[in-house]
Amino acid sequence: MSRTLTPSDRSAVLQQNRAGRGERFLRALRTPGGAVFVLLVALLAAIIAVNPSFGEPNSFIRFIGRTAPIAIAAIGQYFVIVSGEFDLSMGSVVTMQVITAGNLIGDDDAKVIPVLLLMFVLGAFIGLVNGLVTTLLRVPSFIVTLGMMLALLGLVLFWTGGAAQGNPADSFRQIGRGGIEGVPVLEVIPYPVIILAAVAALAFWLMRRPYGRTLIAAGDNPTAAALTGAPVWWIKTRAFMLSSLAATVSGILLVGYAGVHPSVGRGYEFTAITAVVLGGVVLGGGRGWVLSAAAGAFALESLFTLLNFVGVQSTWRDSVQGAIIIVAVAAAAKTWQRKRKGTAAPAQEVQPPNKAEQSEHHNGTTAR
């Protein structure tokens, strides 16, 4: 990473970094991670144009509430993707947790807290296994989590025979279904909205901590990160644990929102990955913002809602999701690459390409 800058370059970089808030804001919007917020606003505006009642505070807060589980899953998936891995087991973890809650809590209010704790332990354990097999046994995470996905799915089928057993106690379902009543303007603040805000704040804080910085470094270039003395295996393992824990929180919210059914959580891993990619996070790791991943989830759900409102058949959904993954990855790769090559940051363009830069920019240069 050592690089010598001529004094004039250095002042240009400094100038760019010290640009006014407004300019930095606009610059951020031009990155894929910022553009998703523009897309989100555009989609919401389109929905309200089609169906004005959607814009009423009460409807809108409920929309946020019902999108919270997928946004939380996207935040969890972000940690894994930014570290250069995948977590395909997420949907199965959601399903397993939903079934666990349904089968173990039953109608007994006293079991809510112990089962809740058990679910978090289970979630953390699945993440730990995913992480350790990926990092220590060096099995590609794609394979590890695919195996975990199938194993958990089989377990759920074995446990339930593929059918719902009934909903758990209402006190447990309140977490995903209830809210603070009697709030002015909004009428109600659903608990999922509050939980989403807490998870997002926690994730934001974590990404500004040394852990978050090292996570991105490990995703960008694991060898370089390891050479600095960072325990890459443990950093990545914790990312998997965060992902499974996020899936657990989503599961808890979904039990409340929807109820217990073996189909709850189906396809969640791909929706989460789509959301993360739509949020401008680069597959392969090392680039992207955590809150953009959450915004990606909202943009995706808004798009589906819009398509639904204008009468597009829901069977189109998967095609739309597929197109988004392809286009978003292509666009994001393009833009980040250009930025790193310097077209978006003129201050760096004058630099002669040296060896350090070559290795740092291996992603971009191999494509060239």
């Binding site: 989609l43 389109a46 144009a49 089609v50 169906n51 009642s53 959607f54 409807s59 409920r62 019902r66 025979g161 593929g162 059918a163 719902a164 057993q165 009934g166 909903n167 279904r177 979904l254 929102y257 929807a258 109820g259 059914h261 189909s263 709850v264 189906r266 798009l303 809602t305 819009l306 398509l307 639904n308 409102f309 204008v310 009468g311 597009v312 058949q313 829901s314 069977t315 739309v320 197109a323 988004i324 392809i326 286009v327 292509a330 666009a331 393009k334 250009r338 060239r368």
Partner: protein
């Protein structure tokens, strides 16, 4: 540099086409008639699945007289052609082979429990030595292989087949018939009458007629009904919708149908979005799985609860009682899972059986709700009220615990 600008252009073009997809759908000409696009495909489906003769037949069968003791509805049938089975009469306990489509929904699970308790009775009385079951897990190919395995190596004295799908399983059922052993087909049908008897409740059209007539009587012309359907392509489900759609159209009720896969998340989203676009007066379901999520969506949105048809699943009956909605529970008689074994008992004795064994199929109206709730007190939410196994050993614990072999 040139290469890069081309790639940028391609990316931009791709992104624009995506945006265009989102943008063009805001075109007011599309929004004016949201039902327009939705209505196009059901019309095609209707032509494919709607069968006027079958519709008329089932319409009549709803009020037909059933032969047999009303206390034992699982043995009742509509008088018709009988099949002589005197040449199939045998002595001693027989081995039965059961090719099951799946037990992947609560309706099939409840029936499977009842069937196994019925089996115990017939084993104790020395009619059946054992029943070997293969579960096809909703897969046609698996079930075909299962049936062929039974024919070649199962050492079976009789076959029971609950087909996964109609057309695909027909040749396999014919191969089973060719063995000369008794073959009992139940629930979904096949395109051959080679089986000794085909057992089923009246059918999907009767379900559609009962439920859609109920909703049409209670709603005004121009009211909105959301139809929640599990999945396309299964005859018993498609017939329900084909009949219901015809009746809704005749009564000027605006019905929009969605496939939900019985996923409660999906059901809630669909209803929330429908309620955000306008009021919904009725909910029609082709199966009760997920009915509770549909009612909850109205509660969460703070809207008036709809007139609704669900199914005789306990979760729906309990929610119906709790909310006091105006509802009807159509029934796809779960007690039919007992009948195949009892039919084999008759066949082994050489007694005649109906060639097509049509079982009663009566919906649960509001005035019978309390009675059915009381009869099934303590049963789990996935239990079906008309399971018809009250006189079997293990009642009620086996159904309460949902003990499946």
């Amino acid at each position: 540099m040139r290469n890069q600008s081309i790639r940028t252009a391609v990316t931009l073009a791709a992104a624009t086409s995506l945006l265009a997809l989102a943008a063009c759908t805001t075109d007011p000409s599309v929004t004016e008639d949201p039902a327009g696009s939705a209505a196009a495909s059901p019309e095609a489906t209707e032509q494919e699945w709607f069968d006027q003769a079958l519709y008329d037949e089932q319409f009549e069968q709803r009020t037909a007289d059933f032969v047999g003791d009303p206390e034992k509805p699982y043995l009742q049938y509509i008088a018709g052609e009988m099949k002589d089975t005197s040449d199939l009469a045998v002595e001693g306990a027989q081995k039965v082979c059961f090719a099951n489509a799946s037990i992947s929904n609560p309706w099939r699970q409840t029936g499977w429990i009842t069937m196994n308790q019925q089996l115990k009775v017939l084993q104790d009385s020395g009619v059946i030595s054992e029943m070997e079951t293969r579960d096809a897990k909703d897969n046609d190919n698996t079930q075909i292989a299962d049936i062929d395995y039974f024919i070649k190596e199962g050492n079976c004295d009789a076959f029971i087949i609950s087909p996964n799908s109609t057309a695909a399983l027909t040749p396999a059922v014919e191969r089973a018939c060719d063995t000369g052993k008794p073959v009992v087909v139940f629930d979904r049908g096949v395109e051959t009458d080679c089986a000794t008897t085909f057992i089923h409740p009246i059918g999907g059209f009767a379900w559609g007629i009962d439920s859609a007539t109920f909703l049409s009587e209670r709603l005004q012309e121009g009211d909105k009904v959301v139809a929640l359907r599990i999945l396309p392509g299964v005859d018993v489900l498609e017939h329900r919708w084909a009949a219901a759609e015809k009746i809704f159209t005749e009564n000027g009720i605006e019905a929009t149908d969605y496939f939900t896969g019985a996923d409660p998340t999906e059901i809630k989203k669909i209803i929330s979005d429908e309620l955000a676009t306008g009021d919904v007066q009725g909910i029609w379901m082709d199966a009760g799985d997920g009915a509770v999520a549909a009612i909850e969506a109205f509660e969460d949105a703070g809207k008036d609860l709809p007139v609704m048809t669900g199914e005789d699943e306990m979760s729906f009956l309990r929610k119906w009682k709790e909310t006091g909605i105006d509802a009807l529970a159509p029934v796809y008689s779960n007690f039919q899972w007992r009948t195949p074994l009892l039919a084999l008992e008759k066949i082994f004795k050489g007694e005649e059986v109906p060639a097509e064994w049509v079982l009663p199929q009566e919906p649960i109206p509001a005035d019978e709700l309390d009675q059915w709730l009381e009869l099934n007190e303590g049963m789990p939410d996935g239990h079906y009220a008309k399971f018809g196994g009250e006189d079997l050993p293990g009642y009620p614990e086996v159904w309460q615990e949902r003990q499946m072999p």
